[in-house]
Symmetry: D2
Subunit: 383 residues, 4 copies
Amino acid sequence: MHQRFTTVRRHTEDICQPLQTEDYVVQPVTDVSPPKWHLAHTTWFWEEFVLARHQPGYKRFHPRYAFLFNSYYDSVGERVLRLHRGNMSRPTVAEILEYRHYITDQMTRFLENVPDNLHGLIEIGLNHEQQHQELLYTDIKYVLGHNPLFPPYDPDFRETPAVAATPGFTEMPEGRYAIGHTGAGFSFDNEHAAHEQFLLPYTISNTLVTNAEYLAFMTDKGYETSQWWHSDGWAWVKEHNVNSPLYWHYIDGRWHRYALSGLQEIPMDEPVTHISWYEAAAFAEWKDMRLPTEFEWEAAASKIAWGQRWEHTNSAYLAYPGYRKPPGAIGEYNGKFMINQMVLRGASVATPAGHSRDTYRNFFHPSLQWQFNGIRLCKKQTW
Amino acid sequence: MHQRFTTVRRHTEDICQPLQTEDYVVQPVTDVSPPKWHLAHTTWFWEEFVLARHQPGYKRFHPRYAFLFNSYYDSVGERVLRLHRGNMSRPTVAEILEYRHYITDQMTRFLENVPDNLHGLIEIGLNHEQQHQELLYTDIKYVLGHNPLFPPYDPDFRETPAVAATPGFTEMPEGRYAIGHTGAGFSFDNEHAAHEQFLLPYTISNTLVTNAEYLAFMTDKGYETSQWWHSDGWAWVKEHNVNSPLYWHYIDGRWHRYALSGLQEIPMDEPVTHISWYEAAAFAEWKDMRLPTEFEWEAAASKIAWGQRWEHTNSAYLAYPGYRKPPGAIGEYNGKFMINQMVLRGASVATPAGHSRDTYRNFFHPSLQWQFNGIRLCKKQTW
Amino acid sequence: MHQRFTTVRRHTEDICQPLQTEDYVVQPVTDVSPPKWHLAHTTWFWEEFVLARHQPGYKRFHPRYAFLFNSYYDSVGERVLRLHRGNMSRPTVAEILEYRHYITDQMTRFLENVPDNLHGLIEIGLNHEQQHQELLYTDIKYVLGHNPLFPPYDPDFRETPAVAATPGFTEMPEGRYAIGHTGAGFSFDNEHAAHEQFLLPYTISNTLVTNAEYLAFMTDKGYETSQWWHSDGWAWVKEHNVNSPLYWHYIDGRWHRYALSGLQEIPMDEPVTHISWYEAAAFAEWKDMRLPTEFEWEAAASKIAWGQRWEHTNSAYLAYPGYRKPPGAIGEYNGKFMINQMVLRGASVATPAGHSRDTYRNFFHPSLQWQFNGIRLCKKQTW
Amino acid sequence: MHQRFTTVRRHTEDICQPLQTEDYVVQPVTDVSPPKWHLAHTTWFWEEFVLARHQPGYKRFHPRYAFLFNSYYDSVGERVLRLHRGNMSRPTVAEILEYRHYITDQMTRFLENVPDNLHGLIEIGLNHEQQHQELLYTDIKYVLGHNPLFPPYDPDFRETPAVAATPGFTEMPEGRYAIGHTGAGFSFDNEHAAHEQFLLPYTISNTLVTNAEYLAFMTDKGYETSQWWHSDGWAWVKEHNVNSPLYWHYIDGRWHRYALSGLQEIPMDEPVTHISWYEAAAFAEWKDMRLPTEFEWEAAASKIAWGQRWEHTNSAYLAYPGYRKPPGAIGEYNGKFMINQMVLRGASVATPAGHSRDTYRNFFHPSLQWQFNGIRLCKKQTW
């Protein structure tokens, strides 16, 4: 645990290594937090939930930081409104790194003798920090990808992990399938209670939709044809003049994209990414296919190659049977978001090693594009 | 069919009988349409989808009405933005009634010899008009209930139908339950494909939550305690300063409500109504209970007394396995709303006779309060 | 005074005579009030400021009407927010007319013996009602002119009064000119203190800009050329996609307008109307001319023919030297609006007889188009 | 000119010297620009209007900077929307300083042989940069003063320059006064044409309203009493919950303010600052006094001590008689803002040495508080 703690903490800082000081500060839209905020907030989590409560005589690094770096835990005092994070030039990046090192040191010492009943809390802290590592990648991409100069994050960064996928579809038989987490490893509360779901037979693609396939939808006037879209999706397209995935730019007669390695022509055989649920659903309808449910996805997870993109599903993010919110502030972690969001399954290039599993439930609002998400299709069937 | 048509058309007008001309015109919020718009839109449906397409030589009543009274069928030409309905003083109520009578006459003649293959379309038209009858009640209540003079709609109107409910809970065993519509009667596309759902054992209340129970939640600072609320629900409470169900007013030390019979003290033993999904979910959490899923509700429907309120469920409005949108404009009826809404089951005092069944899926955004909805609880269980 | 009172009251109702009941109710935008609100508010003024305060034993017509029909007098209790006027279906038009007749009767009796010290207040009431008569015309035009059916108000209504104007310009010499109201007749507080302004020599047009001249500006890409516009005006054009005066429609290759007599081709030689201050200023700049100041206008008033349109000036609506707000609620009449508005001088077809004079200061926000306003130009000069 | 250029350019950078890199980046509200944007925009002015047009063979520093750092000159190509300035982490501060030094070098060489006909343009550039120096102070104050940690800019910074003011009032006789700029020195176009204004006798305060006097207004419920306020001012107070000048905080029973030297108790005898025109006008009304017009101010300028605060006047920012916009992009400098703003006269601690004169017309929207502004009163008089 000691070793994992050190590794996780260091990885957060490594992700930020290519940044300029200025890149740490800005918040272009509400959903994107400034990188320095992620650095501080993940640190605050250890201070607030571990050190301040369980380390006798612990002295806080700064009396105002708990106020500044709480994200959304309503039960832990007042908080800075999310919208204002990008206005905070202070504390500086250097001060926040100092804060990080102070807490890392304190925690390292604390972990030498951590009581058994706190192991679960430490695990949550590590997984929490890993979630913010993923957000760091997506938020950095948003900041740099919306800068008119399109500065690369890292010219060698590859956004599509190689996976061993066989082309074609896999047929899944009707049956009762085990859903949710069991066993010894870490899991979030929202993966419980493990239970069974009865599924009708279904046919699921082994591979993700490619940029070439998505471009065919665009070329066929996909963004101008209301019949493929949900009503809310169509309103979203009209209000925001959406006509392509996020980060796509039509330059000199060819489609380009901003990737973490810089502005480049679209690689046509890579899986499409940065499309909202609305776009994924419209594309599926155009193909006369559909998105899988999260249960179909999980039941097929051992038979399909996943890990390239967070995969949109046709399941709303709601409680499993038998779900209970944990008590206290940690109970705010997942349960209170169980409305108005859709589940994504799998993992992406931004997901830290050791943080993915086939029972993991990610979730976002159907309009959001800035994650590394993608589309896997099922056939429409009748029985 | 001829007889049903006449009955349904007349009922729409009967609902409006107590109104003053001025009441037909206003649209206080986007979701509430002016009564005269409902009168016209239900008429337009028959003209657009039946007469104009299937009655040879049909002459439209007015060349602009198709433009004015389309609601949301994107595939049928341009439409008046929903927000602007309340600005249309013309056509007058008298002109719209003339339009109604013209179409009713034309349809009556058309129905004397309706081809078999149009029976399904006629049924949709009748059910469509019945849905707007329910909206007429809720929209009229909104218009009058938000007028500072609180004019009664009908002093004799009773909002709570009597049902034969046994107090207590019903235990439902684990099993595979039939879900969705089968058989000969009318059903909407969203009730298909009929299929099975595997359910774990659950315990569901025979009765709805009463005003007295809900007031206990309020008295226990329910609206001021973030832990009971979803994150979006809490934001909704804060933004709109919600502190009671819609139509409740604290006057001279006692809680009152506006009902269609006028302003009155809260009848404590009636089921609470006009609460959003957010409020229903927060109340359930405060009780340490939960809302049923729509499948649990349907499986128990023959054992519980329902029909007093549309009952909030913990199911998102999504496609059933095997669902397919019907082709053409009628395909826009349900499928395109299958995102960002929650399912309500049952029926209410405003539901027209003959329009309810235990497979019916109603749906609204989780913030909306203006329907006659209510709360049925399940126990939290683990196995 | 008795006779004038009766005449003014009757004229208000005469203006509404062509309306349908539904037309009295709607409020398409914040600045436009429902006609029935004008009917009630002008009545409330007499009740609140005269009868309730000066008629011993006066019994109010309805206990809630003071709340419903106050417009903006903050010192007279709570008020209905302006934005919500269009949601009030009750009181009905018939009830409001009953209210009018009750107050007219009470006032008629009161005026038989009105004390001398109330003559000023009665005059304000009469002028207040006359101002709302003008607003009735412009608000009715907005309601009917924004209805997709373009119903005429009165097919015989002529929007351009004939005036005896000599083409060309009038040269005005440098000098000190008397500004503001003097003498015995009624005037508003904002026309005081009468004082002198020193003006440099200027040259002012005898006639108003015509529709033909304005169309030339449009044809010369006036709405697409930023250099003619103020910064705020340009932003207004872009945000609202303005490309013509209000009520203009390009139909089948020709420009039409909605007038109170109905939809018709633009009469090219009539003065342009329904243009915002931003448009008037941009037009003037395009002509290499300028708008007069309100002082230049007043000094020239006896030499130019006016009364067709309210004429935009390049003067902000601010206090004259020596201005003092009257005490009490009447003090809210004019003084509190002396910021963010521009002065218009003259009168229009909608101005009631006997309500205009050359010292009258009308005022609106520079973005507003719905009044019968127009453009008179001065030459740019240097000395 | 060569020497002045060097001095002005260096002063801009000196102002930023106490900042951390992060402070250069953020834009908390639309009106406040990031310091690094000011550094770049003032540099772009020289590149765009001088070097690119008048230095043969000039090579731009970076092809995209003209796009990034144009502020509002619509006639000079596309521009970055003002609202988005705070999202631009690149170019970095270091890169912008490199850009500054490149342009300063190029300009220095250019100025060795500057043609006579460009002297006016160079003067405008110098004055433009000086205006941004003042904005740098006020924008830096906004950024640091809205940070929850209240970091001082410079602990030794004094916000109130000493002036030799005699307490009391000065009486000014009726007469024709010379207004506007004459003579050889630099002036902006909006100070022309110089002309005469006839003024009635008036009585103007020798000193500015102090914090103590303003606090008396607050204590007398000034922010809760509608009668002192303009209608738009009252709406502004209500919408933004304004209850004190900007930067004032009530802490532990005493009023404090954030100053550039840090958080501190209010110095009661210093002139109040950071109050909007609405607040200045309400305070004056409460005192039964009034704000001077800009002409009264200018006529008295040699008799009152000014320079501590930009002084609110009761004059709208409009063209002087005989005003003409200069041709070309420079013509956008002042003229297009001549609507919806009020004139402020004088100068403040943030005004650079050599940049103030008694004919200078500063202007802001009446709701804005973030400048170093203040209140000078005139007596209400009648003749």
